[in-house]
Symmetry: C2
Subunit: 254 residues, 2 copies
Amino acid sequence: MISIVVIGFGNVGSHLCEAFKKAKDVELVQIFNRTKISLPESLKHIDFTHSVSDLAEADIYLLALPDDVISEFSEKLPKNKSLVVHTSGAVSMNKLNDKNLRGVFYPLQSFSRRRLPDYEKIPICIEAERSTDLRLLRKLGESISNKVVEVNSEERSRLHLSAVFVNNFVNHLYHISENLLEEANLDFNLLKPLIRESALKIDTMSASQAQTGPALRGDIKTLEKHLHLLKDSQFKEIYEQLTSSIQETYGKKL
Amino acid sequence: MISIVVIGFGNVGSHLCEAFKKAKDVELVQIFNRTKISLPESLKHIDFTHSVSDLAEADIYLLALPDDVISEFSEKLPKNKSLVVHTSGAVSMNKLNDKNLRGVFYPLQSFSRRRLPDYEKIPICIEAERSTDLRLLRKLGESISNKVVEVNSEERSRLHLSAVFVNNFVNHLYHISENLLEEANLDFNLLKPLIRESALKIDTMSASQAQTGPALRGDIKTLEKHLHLLKDSQFKEIYEQLTSSIQETYGKKL
């Protein structure tokens, strides 16, 4: 049985608490949050504290905290023989204070309060200094996911960078599209099947095989028509830059 | 029963042929393609021609052709009382020769030869000059889809522009991400659950509600780290521009 204290009850922390609570071989002994919060019904019976001095003993302290407070918070923790891990894609393991054993437990997913993710399919990227700690983190990861991979801090930062492209930037393109349709009084729902298909396609072919559209075809008439529609839009430059990049990538520079 | 001749057996034409063949109340009487092709087993019994003079009679001639040949091809068609429609998002209805009745039947989806789309969920955007033709196109659309909407040429070009953002440009971001991971010897499959979740999220919340990440948070440390990782990359400017655009959109300009 792995005992764990989850520190921070934001998007990542709250979802991991729910997952650990349901997991076999994991005992969620305590939840810490800087401010007092009311736990959801499903976690009501879990011990809660907002004071560092009241932290319970556990095998693992999991810091689900904003990137910029991870280092500072790890200093405040009592020195003991437990493993302290953070859940960030962008923060190196060695930002954790070295008075304790250190590691990383990074779920490669975007969590929103309102959506239940499919935990089993979320890749968990683990890192630790000692092989026994790696084994412990692997066991913890496998208690909630089918995919646990060892990834060092340098690799993790590259994964995180790529995740920004396929999640944050892709979502911004959805926003741009929603915005353009709103201005034209058109229903964004019409694009949802296309959005879904564009994502699912990637399961069965590479992105370069899936690429289509006027930029790839070098279809100047359509490109000009689109730039005309965007002539007063703040998003015109994004259209131009992504079009150029597609043309450079596929060697059809106009 | 609506009789139809499909002209052009590319990605759109071939998928529509399969759909019409299965549809009730639609008779696919002939397939035309400029070059001789061998039809798949499922369409073997359908009459095929590659000669305009051999075109069969039908209620609707559906031109599933590249944008730049639609106008020219519509001139070659015999003058009769049939309805001639094209399937393009970017071409105005009036680019069709006016010797025949004109219309548009635009399935808002990205078709790939190797993937079977879920026809029922593909929005079909229809346009025609006469209300009887609109009714006919609606009936044809409803024979294969649950979502048929009337959209004029101006609206359709805006839908098509937005589709470029959520399909072509999004797919290019997938490619960039795949490329960055390849360079670091990391497995692109690790990102697929995130790609899927990013697309599915849009079903239950708006893109602006779903936006997360370092650009939105104004997390300068992470942004600088990412730009450093991208310092020799051809994709650095895309990172910078999309980051700025997110910050302008959500008012967190740094």
